[in-house]
Subunit: 455 residues, 2 copies
Amino acid sequence: MQTSYIKQKDIHFLDLRENLKNKEYRNLKNNLEKYNPIDIKDFIEELEPLDRVLVFRLLSKDDAIEVFSSLENEEQIRLIQAFTDTELDRILNELNIDDMVDMIEEMPASIVKKIIRHTDSSKRKLINEFLQYPESSAGSLMTIEYVELKKYMTVEQALTRIKTTGINKVTVYTCYVTDESKKLIGFVSLRDIVISEKDVLIGDLLHEKVIFVHTHDDQEQVAEVFKKYGFVALPVVDNENRMTGIITVDDILDVMEQEATEDFQKMAAMSPDDESYIESSVWYLAKRRINWLLILMISSAFTSAIIGHYNYLLIAYTSLYNFSPMIMGAGGNSGNQSSTTIIRGLATGDIKIGDWLKVMLKELRIAILVGAILGGVNFIKNLIYDKLSIAYALIISISLIFTVCFAKFVGGLLPILAKKLKIDPAIMAGPVISTLVDSVSLLIYFNVIKIILPI
Amino acid sequence: MQTSYIKQKDIHFLDLRENLKNKEYRNLKNNLEKYNPIDIKDFIEELEPLDRVLVFRLLSKDDAIEVFSSLENEEQIRLIQAFTDTELDRILNELNIDDMVDMIEEMPASIVKKIIRHTDSSKRKLINEFLQYPESSAGSLMTIEYVELKKYMTVEQALTRIKTTGINKVTVYTCYVTDESKKLIGFVSLRDIVISEKDVLIGDLLHEKVIFVHTHDDQEQVAEVFKKYGFVALPVVDNENRMTGIITVDDILDVMEQEATEDFQKMAAMSPDDESYIESSVWYLAKRRINWLLILMISSAFTSAIIGHYNYLLIAYTSLYNFSPMIMGAGGNSGNQSSTTIIRGLATGDIKIGDWLKVMLKELRIAILVGAILGGVNFIKNLIYDKLSIAYALIISISLIFTVCFAKFVGGLLPILAKKLKIDPAIMAGPVISTLVDSVSLLIYFNVIKIILPI
């Protein structure tokens, strides 16, 4: 433990590999103890299938549970198939309900049957309840590993309750207080319990300012609550305001990553999904990409129609035509900058629907500034490098400025409009904006040509 | 407290507003107690400047500190200017070092002087140390609000230490154990302390498997550690492995949001920044956007040159020309999908540099599939809707397929190549890929025309 974790990454597992190679299983068992279960998981995943089961069997009970619940589903299935009945009992009875539910949701029916056979009936009932929460809901994220206290308990009784529940996680640091009908009435921090005298009542330590969410709330909104208040855990209640579980911040880190990934996907015109790229099939990935490509391709029929309509200009001024992709590209890039900025601002809460006028004015002013610079640089380039006439250079630069203004205007407006209409703003990103800007920039260009040049 | 927080949002503060309007300050003070400090902050930000100071003065000491540290800098400055010396002392002495440092970094010198005058010398020394950590480093994220224990302490002594430090945060739930030279040797959880007998030694409860980071580690990598292990706090050590502070998960939520925002900005060809859009000036925003727009505009000189070179084809087959923006667009969109997928996969760790061959083969196979569908649909559209000849429709569709293949190939390859070359992969996103694909798709198109049609 001489270097920071971040610099240590590359030197992991040399001792374990050595032990395994030399079949020094006693040393291997001892050395495994030195690693965090998440690292052991990484180590196990690098091994041959047979060695995986072997190493898994050498783990201490606590490590085995943690390693098992962090493994990929395919690996869990492989282990379950290799397990004896005793081993299966040992693992399944210690696994959290929420980890079991996550596992069961992904597994083939034959394995689920084997699992259910080794689970006692009360746990089975809970699993069934959990399986009914909608995907991405607070209910599907929560764990039931929390400490429930009553107002009339003393600090001593509370400490006994905490000790006997045997919960060994962050989830113990806030205890939730419920009334006789299991309704949430507040919370007590473990710290307050620890620093109070034995006979103080929990009711006296109670914080009634409790922020909670509902089993059916969406995980993205739950993440917002965590971000806003900096909580470590958040209680979840059912329709009758009865305490049903808690969500812990480590799961929220995953939710945030997943939600950001989905936004990236939508903004690049793909159907969102949180499956691993490496694990996904070509068919599956293609299916998620083709719809938007088709829609955007069909939409670009407008651009073809516009060029077709102005073909006579094209024949008269062929050399001007060389610069249309540059104008379309600059427009698309400008619009993409604006729409990305606004979509992200809406997602993080920096920009609100009510800011639309402010955003429009700001984008227009930025567009004029940016457009003028691009137009100016391009004008000089056209004269010096492309050796165009002043009239030609002027046409290109004027079109460029108008295109940038239009692109930044729609790039700023469409995401806010989408949000107002309860459509996901992330759809109004680069690809859609570019397709729109392509058509309009050509219209601008051809009309500027028509106005300035004789035909 | 009848509804979930998420549904409650809109009904906030009615009682507070009513109290303030009717000048019922006693009731206002009582009602403020019912709210979370973060909500009080939201309420205060909606008020007129004079009312803000008034409401702030009605807060309990703990709430006042929390509200103050969560306010925007401009608002903090306004309050500091309104404060009496006693009030300033009260706030500054209770504020966390890390919150103070964050505040000082953003404030004008005159305010900083006023703050420093009201800070005692030991705190001043600490502030100076903190100010020296690089931006976005673990050191700049950490807090010194943690509990430090020694191996030889008993559980009883440890509990006394915990009570007397008076730390009132999540940060108390893991206590860090150091040796005589303050070197980090392990940790003990508050839970283990609480459930142990009074005379047990901390050394017996010690976990030596401690994962830590260094003050100069980058915050993005620190966030990776949190995500991987699901920690609530992580210790930070200096060059001599001495314990210097801890990072808590609530700050990591902000880091993750900020890092995702920066990726969105880079991928839309903007200089990354975490300033608020609404607060930023037009000049500032324009400056962050213009560089890439200029680079991409200049790069598109290639497209102009290519069209110029093939002008003779354009004159011979004008109507084919109408479809070039569609091909460029479809190519850009296909490439954008691939590059976004790979950039995000590299960021989340789903894809590694070593996967490059797998990624390339997958992207090529997706491209053939997607390209064939796009080409097929377009072929039919060209024949039926655009009434083109079979030769023309064939030229367009073949070019489309080759363009999609090229776009997905470079879209998949460039981000991995960038990562290999230690360049940020996020740069190889839509705008760069589109500019590249624009040129190459035109080259493909013109050459397919040349091969199939007589000139």
